[in-house]
């Protein structure tokens, strides 16, 4: 029986099992995003001191649930969908052992629900990091462990699918760059999940009384092997999607396969060292260890991101120039499809991830500069620039592509979709910039009351810190509205979007029968051929000068901001 369909709009081949697995993972991820977004409202409206909405216990519970649902459940579920797409769909092969994929998915689902139950019962408000010896309910840890095991199973289904593609020769030459990036993400995921297991399993045993003591410092070092590395899965995944979007929308070719793949390889080799970023002001950690690890050996993973920062927009520029948009430095960018949310979302993600997320991350990850930033609200500002305007906005952008291609529905309320990346990206950028400012003034993260009500001794932040938190919160509310617009379009499209192809029914579509049987009429997809050679392929000139200017702007911003922070550090109490 034919198991494949070809999407007439995009030319992608979908294997029936892969399609169902992609859908369930993506949809559950989006549900987690919905929960996280609603909770975000509680967080920003409480930290906006003039509003100060939730009582302390609710606030900490909401903050815990917001962090876990957004950073772990939303992103990792969606990444599972990305892995199926990058293997089965791009390589035109059947998915390996789909039954195991379902087992993995259900373990993740059970784990996510179990963890949320623990948090919302109110007795596990321990924050996403759950630093020992503060203890959560046993099912808080067990939920995370089941989730991680499920994710690991799906990652191995991905590896198996790559083997299927290779042995059944469904493609010529080497795997595409996007698949290569996804492999990077999957390899980092294995490392990440292993670190999580090493620390969460003993912590679970401690919570039920089988282990008497978990060393708090050891917990921090190993937990961050999961906590930070999981963000590196996101980086690899969303950079892969950037390349995919450049290819789909512009027909862009990577400027150099060698350079881009080398940059991904640097991620595998060095990104994991970043757990050190969280340990820089901890007791007793040696200076050499901190310098080597916090800098990813010698900023080699930063080098990788700077390379992608040039080659992703650079490949778009080359493609645009080939189409005739050659006037000046930036005609290619001005004439880009800014009304298409797939493009605008991706481009806003590239800019905010690079200019804000990347620069602030390196600055606060500098061994000594961390002294003036650790645990201030600067930290969540940084990672909202990487994980929200970077990863989440990228995933939103690709969802606008997946709705017609994967779900075979027309976009519901396309004008909302058109505005959504600007509202979401703009609102979040305001939140991030003002949180960065407040953090520089010493405002604490994970803190219910910047007035310190009830404290025996008073401390007052300068008035400007309050103003920054208020403006940031307004940006946050705008960002949440933008998130709501995304959910409206995504969920609306699945329920009410015009069907582009005969559906098997809403329930069937999530249970191994995505579309009507008649749609699956391809027995064996054509072998994926190598990209055609172009005459001008072996150029050596400056084919993307506009992007080069943008890259130099990034560098100048980076250098100036980096040294400003050293100057600020020099003004605080000498320590030795």
């Amino acid at each position: 029986m034919a198991e494949f369909r070809v999407c007439p709009d995009s030319g992608f081949y979908f294997h029936k099992s892969a399609e169902s697995l992609m859908k369930v993972n993506a949809v559950v991820g989006i549900v987690a995003l919905l929960i996280a977004g609603l909770l975000a409202l509680g967080v920003v409206l409480t930290r906006w001191q003039e509003v100060h909405w939730l009582p302390a216990d609710t606030f900490y519970m909401v903050l815990t649930a917001h962090g876990i649902n957004a950073l772990i459940f939303w992103i990792i579920f969606f990444e599972m969908a990305v892995l199926y797409f990058a293997s089965s769909t791009l390589l035109r092969c059947r998915v390996a052992t789909p039954a195991w994929g379902w087992i993995g998915f259900f373990l993740m689902l059970i784990g996510a629900v179990m963890n949320n139950v623990a948090v919302f019962s109110g007795s596990s408000s321990v924050m996403m990091t759950s630093y020992v010896p503060m203890q959560a309910e046993p099912h808080f840890y067990l939920g995370l462990i089941l989730f991680a095991v499920g994710a690991l199973i799906q990652v191995f289904v991905f590896f198996g699918t790559l083997v299927v593609a290779q042995t059944e020769k469904t493609y010529e030459g080497s795997v595409p760059l996007v698949t290569f990036g996804a492999i990077t993400a999957a390899i980092i995921a294995v490392f990440t999940i292993a670190s999580g297991a090493i620390i969460l399993i003993p912590t679970f045993l401690w919570s039920i009384g089988y282990v008497s003591h978990i060393d708090a410092e050891m917990y921090r070092v190993i937990w961050w092997g999961m906590g930070h590395s999981s963000q590196q899965i996101n980086v690899s995944a969303h950079v892969s999607i950037w390349y995919l979007v450049a290819g789909v929308l512009f027909g862009a070719r990577p400027m150099s396969e060698k350079v881009s793949r080398f940059a991904f390889l640097l991620y595998i080799l060095f990104l994991q060292l970043a757990s050190a970023h969280h340990i820089l002001v901890d007791p007793g950690i040696s200076t050499e260890w901190k310098i080597f690890n916090t800098s990813y050996a010698m900023y080699l993973a930063v080098l990788a991101s700077m390379i992608h920062g040039l080659t992703v927009p650079g490949s778009m520029e080359v493609a645009q120039r080939r189409k005739g948009f050659t006037k000046g430095l930036f005609e290619w960018l001005r004439k880009a499809p800014w009304g298409n949310p797939v493009f605008s979302g991706t481009f806003i993600a590239i800019v905010t991830f690079g200019f804000i997320g990347g620069i602030t991350g390196v600055v606060m990850g500098t061994e000594q500069i961390n002294l003036i930033i650790h645990n201030t609200i600067y930290v969540p500002a940084h990672f909202h620039a990487t994980v929200v305007t970077g990863t989440t906005l990228t995933f939103m952008a690709i969802t606008y592509l997946l709705i017609p291609v994967l779900f075979r529905r027309q976009l519901f309320l396309p004008w909302v979709a058109k505005m959504q990346p600007y509202v979401f990206g703009g609102g979040m950028t305001i939140l991030i910039l003002f949180m960065l400012g407040a953090g520089t003034m010493g405002v604490s993260r994970r803190h219910w009351d910047m007035d310190f009500a009830g404290a025996a001794m008073a401390f007052e932040y300068p008035a400007i810190a309050y103003t920054m938190m208020a403006i940031g919160a307004i940006g946050g509310v705008l960002g949440i509205v933008g998130g709501g617009m995304f959910l409206l379009v995504a969920v609306g499209s699945l329920l009410f979007g015009k069907k582009l192809e005969a559906s098997a029914g809403i329930m069937e579509s999530f249970a191994g029968k995505p579309l009507a049987d008649s749609v699956y009429n391809v027995d064996k997809p054509e072998v994926l051929a190598m990209a055609p050679q172009l005459e001008e392929d072996h150029h050596e000139g400056f084919e993307a000068p506009g992007t080069f200017m943008l890259a130099m702007l990034l560098l100048v911003t980076f250098v100036v901001y980096y040294f400003i922070n050293w100057k600020y550090l020099a003004s605080v109490w000498p320590l030795g």
Binding site: S174, S256, M298, L310, L569, L575
Partner: protein
């Protein structure tokens, strides 16, 4: 077309890299090396470097040292908490617990002290304001740093590691006198 297709050239790793990418990689690498060198350089020429001196301890042992210091050098009381003025250059202790930084310290400007920090229970964040120095305080570890307060005035220590429902009330104090 090709980001999601196999590379046009089967031997893609042999295709020469364009001038633009090479220049950017070179610039970026130089910047990475500069940033890398800044950290050891600051250890030589900078004044804000975190010491690596730390000892394993227990809440009972650390608490006893705090009490010993208080009994020797207590100069007053404020908000029910002892104010301690230990001698210049001595070992000075401050502990974090639910939800206090204990005791209040009185230090002399431009003099060096050996400051010991630890937690009696959960993890805490020692955040000196408004100077903005932030340290992670971990139970079971006695963190020792040489500090030289270089400004006179009243400083607050707030907690910036979440430590439960009273987290926001955890405010301590350090006086620095001329």
């Amino acid at each position: 077309m090709t980001s999601f297709m196999p590379p046009a050239d089967r031997n893609w790793w042999k295709v020469p890299v364009g001038r633009q990418e090479l220049i950017w990689i070179a610039i970026a690498l130089v910047w990475c090396i500069i940033m890398f060198l800044m950290m050891p350089l600051w250890h030589v020429y900078g004044k804000q470097n975190l010491s690596t001196e730390a000892y394993q301890t227990t809440p009972a042992k650390f608490g006893a040292k705090v009490e010993e210091m208080i009994s020797q050098y207590k100069v007053g009381e404020e908000a029910g908490m002892p104010v301690v003025a230990p001698p210049v250059g001595s070992d000075v202790y401050m502990l974090g617990r639910l939800w206090q930084w204990y005791p209040i310290l009185k230090l002399k400007k431009d003099q060096e002290y050996r400051l010991h920090l630890s937690s009696m229970d959960w993890q805490h964040g020692w955040s000196l304001q408004p100077d903005n120095i932030n340290l992670q305080i971990v139970p079971g570890y006695d963190m020792v740093l040489k500090v030289t307060p270089d400004k006179a005035g009243t400083f607050s220590v707030i907690c910036n590691e979440y430590c439960g429902i009273g987290h926001h009330t955890m405010v301590g104090k350090i006086y620095v006198e001329e």
